[in-house]
């Protein structure tokens, strides 16, 4: 490798909120660390598989608006998740496709047209140090990722050399997956998310559970990587909304005294004292991660065994993509 090669991706414009995220920090929740990681994990995994990376490697998660950046060297990259109207040197480029950039090329993403979060992966991955076993950025505590923070203009992200020859990577294509695009293109009134009731559904009145399962909730602008704050019909508790603080799994639907649900997301705290009426199914959580403020959500209860059957089906789908 010649020493003159600039193995970086230089950020010209960082977009609204762009962070490095992998599959998350495992094993540290008991010490109070959020799992973090990609909000839409299947999209991160597809981005990585397209460019020949391990599926859980760190990529850039771009929120609402994407980055503009310059490749310092020849590089294969991919974009998945939200449609951010990306262009390479001014030419529109497709998502879910491995693409070749040359040194000096400019990638420019715009605002998300479909979805909320886009992923940019590069062949070989970003050369970031793992902190507590993960390259994910924990924004709340300045942990991991690129300098523990969101990207800024002028940042130069170091790139690793891909292990697979570049010639074998370009032109890989995946179908645009799951219901992501269909949901918006079909102009349905909103998206339906499958949930498993509990662990504390019994804290709510029958009318409260009925409201939760039968009415539309709107995503509010206060939503972020910690939680999606929703607004709709008040969910009534039997006697108070507080429980003795216990563990919070990503996807938990907490209901504080306002009676308005908050779905806990990747950066959520590990423990909490609000009753949890339900937990969003693993296969549905990435869909919620793609919801924008103003989008409408409704919930449909399924049994935990059904949710696990869906999780296994999705995992099998992903395994079929790993055979490249």
């Amino acid at each position: 490798m010649s020493s003159g090669v600039d193995r970086t991706l230089r950020i010209q414009s960082p977009g609204m909120l762009t962070t490095a995220q992998d599959a998350g920090r495992v094993g540290w929740m008991a010490s109070g660390f959020s799992r973090s990681g990609a909000m839409d994990l299947p999209s991160l995994r597809r981005a990585n598989l397209l460019v020949g990376n391990d599926k859980d490697m760190a990529a850039l998660e771009m929120t609402m608006t994407g980055v503009a950046c310059i490749f310092g060297c020849d590089c294969v990259f991919s974009l998945t998740g939200a449609d951010m109207c990306a262009a390479l040197n001014g030419q529109p480029i497709p998502r879910y496709t491995a693409l070749q950039a040359r040194a000096g090329d400019t990638l420019a993403c715009g605002g998300a047209r479909v979805g909320m979060r886009g992923y940019l992966a590069v062949a070989g991955g970003f050369d970031l140090p793992a902190v507590l076993g993960s390259c994910s950025t924990g924004l709340k505590f300045g942990l991991g990722g690129f300098a523990g923070r969101k990207l800024r203009a002028g940042d130069a992200l170091p790139l690793r050399c891909p292990e697979i020859p570049v010639s074998r990577l370009s032109e890989r294509v995946l179908p645009v997956p799951n219901a992501l695009d269909a949901h918006w293109r079909a102009q349905r009134p909103g998206m339906q998310l499958r949930v498993v009731l509990g662990p504390q559904a019994a804290h709510f009145t029958a009318a409260g559970v009925e409201a939760f399962l039968s009415s539309w909730y709107v995503v509010t602008p206060a939503s972020d990587r910690m939680g999606m704050k929703l607004e709709g019909k008040k969910i009534e508790a039997v006697c108070g909304y507080d429980v003795i603080s216990d563990g919070v799994a990503p996807g938990s639907v907490q209901v504080p005294a306002s009676g308005q649900p908050i779905v806990m997301m990747a950066d959520c705290q590990t423990t909490g004292g609000y009753a949890k009426i339900a937990t969003v199914a693993g296969v549905a959580l990435p869909l919620l991660a793609q919801a924008k403020p103003g989008d409408k959500i409704c919930f449909a209860a399924i049994d935990v065994r059904e949710a696990q059957r869906l999780a296994r089906r999705e995992a099998a789908q992903l395994r079929r993509m790993e055979i490249w």
């Binding site: 003795i244 603080s245 990503p250 423990t271 199914a281 999780a311």
Partner: protein
């Protein structure tokens, strides 16, 4: 509800509830189960979050389903005595009692500052769980005389190492953060230090004891810590 209860928390987690109260015996059962699972892990389980009265188990539904995990957990629990078998670890944490709310806490309890310090240093506090911030320990055992209402307007920045009282609880702020607790002192010990081999000092089930130190000792301990020395003590029993 009958305890222990196995409650699904979605398809990737389940909560084993041992009761509906904050009690050392309930907490000890959680610790016993956690220790048993750490000695002999169940394949497909990613991690645990022990809390006051429950153990959240995060697992991979593609490796094992809810029903099988419940059966495995039940089998493990059948062989457990109610108490943890591991050693009881007490972390002795040096504290300089010079917090800006020490006078308020003393006045609220109608005792002297010295008496506040004596009462605060007397018990071994059980770490019920960690949460809220990395390394933040929820402690049980604060003397009822020291129970003090929180500030009406939380401070925007409390420094790492601050020791405070909030309602019936006491604890150490592991990071600079906003907070509404009454500050009674400060420790040079960092419950969380990403650069340390053991980034988080203690775990749920351990105990904390506070030991009073003078200002000059605080400065000295801070210096020694910067030089890589261990400035807390661990007593095992």
């Amino acid at each position: 509800m009958e305890y222990p209860a196995f409650l699904p928390a979605g398809d990737c987690a389940l909560s084993v509830e041992f009761g509906d109260a904050i009690h050392p015996e309930i907490n000890a059962r959680i610790r016993a189960l956690r220790e048993a699972l750490e000695r002999k892990p169940i394949r497909g389980v990613r991690e645990y979050v022990p809390t006051f009265r429950s153990l959240l188990v995060l697992y991979e539904p593609c490796v094992l389903g809810f029903d099988r995990l419940v059966k495995k957990l039940q089998a493990r629990m059948a062989g457990l005595r109610g108490v943890a078998e591991g050693k009881r670890r007490v972390y002795v944490i040096p504290v300089c009692y010079n917090g800006e709310d020490l006078d308020f806490v003393a006045a609220h309890a109608r005792i002297t500052r010295e008496e506040v310090v004596r009462l605060h240093c007397a018990p071994d506090y059980l770490i019920y769980m960690l949460g809220f911030l990395p390394g933040f320990a929820y402690l049980g055992g604060l003397d009822a005389k020291l129970h003090t209402p929180r500030l009406q307007n939380p401070r925007t920045k409390i420094p790492a190492g601050a020791v405070g009282i909030g309602g019936e609880q006491t604890g150490i702020y592991p990071l600079d953060s906003p907070g509404g607790w009454r500050l009674i002192g400060r420790t040079p010990v960092r419950p969380y230090d990403a650069s340390r081999a053991q980034p988080i000092l203690y775990a749920a089930g351990d105990f904390i004891r506070f030991a009073p130190i003078a200002m000059v000792e605080y400065a000295d301990l801070e210096r020694r810590q910067a030089a890589g020395e261990t400035i807390w003590e661990v007593r095992e029993a």
